[in-house]
Amino acid sequence: MKPPLFDYATPATLAEATALLVHYDGEAKLLSGGQSLVPLLNMRLARPAMVVDLARIPDLDYVRADGDGFAIGGMTRQRSVEMSAEVRAQHPLLFAGMQLIAHPQNRNQGTVGGSLAHADPAAELPAMALALDATFQATGPDGVRTITAADFFLTYLTTSLEPAEILTAVRFPTLPARTGWSILEVARRHGDFGLAGVVAIVGLGADGRVASTRLVLFGVGATPIRAQGAEGLLVGHTAEPALFADVATRAAADLDEPLTDVHASADYRRDLARVLSVRALTEATTRARAA
């Protein structure tokens, strides 16, 4: 199908863009890379009165290392992050996660800010943001504010961004020493949205026990989900296979009913979350010991 009628604007500044969002009062959509919005327009699932293209606003496309993290502009192409030698060397989790997003041809156009603001619960960037305690910078009519990842994702395709706010940047902290990571997903075909996925981070203390951990499941709920109950079973203990099995079982059991659709049943998604959690915790611990 072809997109419905809409008006189109290319504001030159964030102030102009937010003014348009205020003026259209919920009837405008922001266009970033368009890898989600234009298919939705083509299928006429989205019928905005106005499409506001952010492409002409300067200074939204950058990847900057700041010592213990990477600040990334909202309009930065996913491929630019993947191709950054600094990201590859200093943030292997972010590098690995980028490669799971759709196909290179989509990552060439798709942006970091677009994927995060779209907030598909099966997408990789939101899950990584939650696992890494990323911080989001939003600009609205009343100025700039910072939102934590824990407060950002509300439900399916819904974030805490106000209707006239624009996500301008996100900061992904790098991982400290003796900390390992893993990101795994199962998809029907390479490049498809995952049926279920897991981001695991394991930090080891001087005594070899788990000092800190993050276990985030994605594709199995309305948002990426931090498995806090399961994390609690791990902290303070020696990371070993029997414990991983218990932690993963708890993480899967704590899920509300995952989605059932043509691709997978809720039970299958729940079981994938369990199996992937074991694998991801194992991989993250191995990397932590080597780090």
């Binding site: 009628l5 189109y8 234009v38 293209d53 759709a102 290179p104 041809q105 989509n106 060439n108 490049g191």
Partner: protein, 159 residues
């Protein structure tokens, strides 16, 4: 009431200016307005890869880009590959290795492979698979396309 915008862009080295409806996708603009029908329209939601073109050197899906987004851009389509009657080495490799049967998906494959080989003259098997993974071909089973990429690498090295 349709809304139009004046855009200027370069396609295969040639500059074009046109008034386009803002809702028109880039692939429909290339095919309908510029009569560059080598770029094919498949799924119209960014999955099949038939519509892939180079946008400022990067392979993108022209079915999920609006033509107005390409204002000021430099594009390359499959029509820009051959040098007159002489096929581009990637096209020649497809011909020699039977990298196509019906040919519907071929223009998209060619453009993605062009981007890959422009960036990396000796891509790993993993990079090749990752690039081809963004395209669907229902005829070949992909093996002959992989062989064509390897042959194209050789041809472009000795060129």
């Amino acid at each position: 009431m349709s809304v139009t915008r004046r855009i200027a862009l370069t396609v295969n080295g040639e500059r074009h200016e046109a008034d386009v409806e803002v809702r028109k996708t880039l692939v429909d603009f290339l095919r309908g307005d510029l009569a560059l029908t080598g770029t094919h329209v498949g799924c119209e939601h960014g999955v099949c890869g038939a519509c892939t073109v180079l946008w400022n050197g990067r392979a993108v899906r022209s079915c999920i880009m609006l033509a107005v987004q390409a204002d000021g851009a430099e594009l390359k389509t499959v029509e820009g590959l051959a040098d007159g009657a002489t096929l581009h080495p990637i096209q020649q490799a497809f011909l020699e290795k039977h990298g196509l049967q019906c040919g519907f998906c071929t223009p998209g494959f060619l453009m993605s492979i062009y981007e890959l080989l422009t960036r990396d003259s000796a891509p790993s098997d993993e990079d090749i698979t990752d690039t081809l993974g963004g395209h669907i071909c229902r005829c070949t089973g992909y093996q002959t396309i992989v062989e064509a990429v390897h042959l194209a690498v050789e041809k472009m090295r000795t060129k």
